[in-house]
């Protein structure tokens, strides 16, 4: 019996934390129609602040909790004012990216304020351990349960019984109609951010008490779990968020008990992908949630398009293949090589997210498959790099065609979360299949490519190789975009129903976009593996998928030239900002925020 009850209790308590985070995410999603990537960081900031109040200032628990609630609520309002509201008329993807920048800034500020160390959360409750039969739980566990229930109840009463609550619900249901009824939608959005952020802050303090520790970088993982929980329950559905959180906690807990801690990601996301496959709107979401407006479509192409003349293209070529290799030192060449490899990854996503409008946050998974396939084929099976690289692309494409099946019925944010899950599952599978992939050990001594028996190792030679492949993938993508296929993809992006009515076969076209994108991502992975000479699963985390998406959003979604610019800014800038030392990543975040603020339609517009 205890082997069943222990994980259940642990899971329920953990699930509470997920529920609190998911609740806030769902509320913001409902009111502002936005997945708030900064939410996890607000949670971590609340946890650190709670630690500061309790451990450094020695405040009692109620005071610390109240302080955190006030501070995080204010933080939420500031985020809404600075990063979300100015983008109200921008494409809907812009505020999402803007919250990514806020997350970067918030994490770094928190590290500078509180030091990057993990801190012990003081025991604020009497250390009473209750034992019921063979299950144990502490005061903190009960406290956590109580606070979640009280928060949920208070939120419920507020939404159902007050005028403001009704206005919030109305805005969530139909923003335009609410506006016409005289509802101050902007103010409500700030209110939603305040409430959600306060919930996240409470969650941070409770998790600190339960885990007994906090650290400034715990936000990203928590945000992803919360996102998964909210989607499981149905985005925008508040009771769904709570059930989703509890369910995710319990499933994870059993998974970890049965299959080990390393399987956590695979189980959580496996369940999520499975549920969305069967119920595209989540467990409690209305089924037509899957027909919500596309994320990128309708609002495309605002701003003045920029077209490249032939002579400008020639100038770019000369700059990339003659001037840069001649003028740059080896360090710059190395930076340029990595920028180019990530640009190829970005270009691979242009087709999926830009042209076909399928918001994918799982591209790192196909990047990883390409890297591993190429590394293993060359190292263990004696293939030449020139054979292994396309093979890596083909394998990644095959994997995409299979893995992407659950995505085909989904739209908008649901595509984002399921692809995020697929990326995480691929990496977890690499970690948990040591017989093939060497598991966490990684693959060492991956040979460099050879041409006529000579190793391509010099920074210049490798740069030229990577840049040629970038050109090839750009040509491939542009030709596809201009072809009949490209028109079909754009039709799907703009209006799925209309596209289908005009005879565009949805599933086949979507699969093809994913597979072709994965092929290019696989080639990029192969280049990365032979450049590094060593790969392990850590290299292909969710952060890389988010990076790829950020690149194309910054570049203007469907434009390859913009994507390359995005790669230069996002991968190159942290290197160029090196002299700033401690403030490097902070500055990078602020720059990103400003870029989105003043160029929400992306750096490059193109039809």
């Amino acid at each position: 019996m205890p082997e069943f009850l222990d994980p259940l209790v642990t899971g329920l308590i953990n699930g509470n934390a997920y529920a609190l985070i998911a609740l806030g995410l769902s509320l913001i999603f409902g009111v502002a129609d936005l997945v708030n990537f900064a939410h996890g960081s607000v949670f971590a900031f609340g946890a650190m602040l709670g630690w500061y109040f309790a451990a450094v200032l020695h405040w009692p628990l109620p005071a610390a909790l109240a302080g955190v609630v006030v501070a995080t609520a204010l933080l939420g309002v500031v985020i809404e004012r600075v990063a979300v509201r100015p983008l109200a008329k921008a494409p809907r993807i812009a505020p999402l990216l803007s919250t990514v920048a806020v997350a970067l800034i918030l994490d770094r500020v928190s590290q500078l304020l509180f030091t990057p160390d993990t801190q012990v959360f003081p025991n604020l409750l009497p250390n009473a351990n209750f034992q019921l039969g063979d299950i144990r739980f502490g005061a903190a566990d009960l406290m956590m349960l109580a606070v979640t229930l009280v928060s949920l109840l208070a939120l419920w009463l507020f939404l159902m019984r007050t005028r403001l609550g009704r206005a919030l619900r109305a805005t969530a249901q139909d923003r335009d109609a609410a506006l016409q009824m005289g509802v101050n939608a902007g103010g409500l959005e700030a209110l939603a951010f305040a409430i959600s952020s306060a919930l996240a802050g409470i969650g941070g303090v409770l998790v600190g008490m339960y885990y007994r520790n906090v650290d400034p970088s715990m936000g990203f993982a928590a945000g992803i779990e919360g996102f998964a929980a909210a989607t499981l329950g149905g985005l925008g559905n508040l009771p769904g968020a709570v059930v989703g959180g509890l369910l995710l906690g319990v499933i994870e807990s059993f998974g970890v008990t049965w299959f080990g801690g390393a399987s956590r990601g695979m189980i959580a996301f496996g369940v999520l992908v499975g549920v969305l496959w069967l119920r595209p709107g989540g467990l409690f979401g209305s089924s037509n949630a899957s027909f919500a407006e596309p994320l990128t479509g309708t609002f495309f192409g605002r701003g003045r398009p920029v077209t490249l003349h032939r002579w400008q293209l020639v100038a770019i070529f000369v700059a990339a293949f003659v001037v840069l290799p001649l003028a740059a030192n080896a360090y710059l060449m190395r930076v340029a090589t990595i920028v180019v490899i990530f640009a190829i990854l970005g270009v691979s996503l242009t087709l999926v997210a830009g042209t076909a409008g399928l918001m994918s946050i799982g591209q790192a998974g196909f990047f990883a498959i390409g890297a591993y396939a190429s590394a293993l084929l060359v190292k263990n099976h004696g293939w030449s790099f020139w054979m292994a690289m396309p093979a890596a692309g083909v394998l990644a494409a095959l994997a995409a065609a299979i893995l992407i099946v659950p995505v085909l019925r989904l739209r908008g944010h649901y595509v984002a979360i399921v692809t995020l899950g697929i990326g995480a599952i691929v990496v977890a599978a690499i970690l948990n299949l040591p017989a093939i992939t060497a598991g966490p050990l990684g693959i060492t001594a991956i040979p460099p490519p050879q041409l006529f028996g000579i190793d391509i190792v010099s920074p210049r030679a490798y740069y030229v190789l990577a840049a040629l492949l970038l050109v090839a993938s750009v040509v491939l993508v542009v030709r596809l975009q201009r072809s009949h296929l490209g028109r079909a993809w754009r039709a799907i992006r703009e209006d799925e129903v209309a596209a289908q009515a005009s005879g565009v076969q949805l599933a086949g076209h979507k699969s093809l976009a994913f597979a072709l994108g994965a092929f290019i991502a696989g080639v990029a992975g192969s280049l990365l593996a032979h450049q590094y000479g060593y790969i392990n699963p850590e290299i292909f985390g969710v952060d890389i998928s988010v990076l790829a998406l950020t690149m194309i959003v910054l570049g203007g979604m469907s434009n390859v030239v913009g994507t390359i610019l995005g790669a230069i800014v996002l991968v190159g800038a942290p290197e160029l900002l090196r002299p700033l030392g401690d403030f490097r990543i902070l500055t990078y975040g602020v720059l990103l925020l400003l870029l989105i603020r003043f160029r929400p339609q992306g750096l490059w517009i193109y039809r």
Binding site: T118, A330, R334, Y534, R584
Partner: protein
């Protein structure tokens, strides 16, 4: 107090300047007096692992201050070029190229994680620049090329030692917790094999991710297996958290932790829960050897805290590379030749040692310590 220690350092630096000026007058010693010697450091000075980077910097800065106070190397002051990589291979690779291309840089120290270090190794190897691994216990690290040296004992040696200590001092029914990382996985395999072959029994074998904050599930599962000793193949943060939460779920037993748990942070984070933990360490501040005592005293005076093993390793690394520079000359090749031919290289951690064929420390001895009354003491 702090003001005073800064003043002292300054005075020493001024004296150092005088010494090097004097050396410049003596013919033969006067090569490029005053022109600094540079080592590059590639490490996590921001991001998730910034805490390790901060301690590295303290240890390294102190070693540099000492060397320069005594007149530098051949009369030339030593300077470190720190580059933050967040221990991310995407950043450590360009940094490697930056150092290799910078003719002033004659040696490199770091990086921290396997991924960041080993992805950069081919570039150092081709640039014929020493990559000195302070913490790289993966045996594959020094196999990456002729220019990779490391003073970190390999995980195989560490894990075998852990198995022996457990059997000899602690118990035969072990619950083993390990990080799902290259280090954790390799160590776990070596430990389990050795432990079983010597008559031990592994009753629970549980892994977790470095990013995990919650261990309740694996801990309650281990509790049901009734172990008499808990073995932690962990870093200090996860190790301390495991023990804290073990207390919450009622998992009890003697405790053996990997040497990477040896840090003041382990005590700070773990509170009473880490009491009784046994570990085998290379560096211990109560070690009576005069060199260690001098290091501890100076470190305390400089930073008002007791150094941990990462500080000691970082300090020692700079000193060892400086020895190589002194012996072989201030060139990339000179340092390597000095390391290969040196038979008694002076060091804080190993006394006098030599590098073996794998370019690792050939022989070393460790101290067995335990946590008692919220501090580390010798185990008896």
């Amino acid at each position: 107090m702090i003001q005073k220690s800064i003043d002292n350092t300054r005075r020493k630096i001024v004296q150092g300047g005088l010494v090097s000026a004097a050396a410049a007058v003596v013919p033969g010693l006067a090569t490029a007096a005053g022109k600094p010697i540079y080592y590059g450091v590639s490490g996590p000075f921001s991001g998730d692992r910034a805490a390790y980077g901060a301690v590295w910097k303290k240890g390294m800065d102190m070693a540099v201050a000492e060397i320069n106070a005594r007149g530098g190397i051949e009369g030339r002051p030593l300077e470190l070029l720190y580059q933050d990589t967040q221990s991310d291979p995407k950043q450590s690779v360009p940094v490697a190229q930056k150092f290799v291309d910078d003719d002033r840089v004659i040696a490199e120290l770091g990086d921290f994680s396997s991924a960041a270090s080993m992805a950069a190794s081919p570039i150092y190897e081709r640039g014929k620049l020493i990559q000195f691994g302070l913490t790289n216990s993966d045996p594959k690290f020094t196999r990456g090329g002729e220019y990779m040296f490391s003073t970190a004992p390999t995980m195989q040696m560490d894990a075998a030692l852990m198995a022996d200590i457990t059997l000899k001092h602690l118990g035969k029914q072990a619950a083993v917790f390990y990080q799902a990382s290259d280090w954790g996985d390799t160590s776990q395999k070596v430990f389990v094999e050795r432990f079983k072959s010597q008559g031990g029994n592994v009753v629970a074998l549980e892994n977790y991710l470095l990013t995990d904050k919650d261990y309740h599930s694996i801990l309650s599962k281990a509790r049901r297996a009734n172990p008499d000793v808990l073995v932690l193949i962990s870093y200090y943060t996860d190790g301390a958290l495991l023990l804290l939460q073990a207390q919450d779920v009622g998992l009890k037993g003697k405790i053996l932790a990997a040497t990477s748990c040896y840090s003041n942070k382990f005590l700070e984070l773990g509170g009473g829960a880490v009491n009784g933990t046994v570990m085998s360490v290379l560096f211990f501040p109560e070690d009576p050897r005069p060199a260690v005592q001098r290091f501890v005293k100076d470190y305390q005076a400089r930073y008002s805290e007791t150094p941990d093993q990462y500080a000691a390793r970082a300090y020692d690394a700079v000193k060892i590379v400086a020895w190589g520079t002194q012996q072989g000359g201030a060139t990339r090749d000179g340092i390597r030749k000095a390391f290969i031919s040196g038979t008694s290289i002076p060091s804080l951690l190993f006394g006098s040692f030599k590098f073996d064929a794998e370019r690792r420390v050939a022989h070393y001895s460790e101290s067995l310590i335990t946590v008692r009354g919220d501090k580390f003491t010798y185990y008896s």
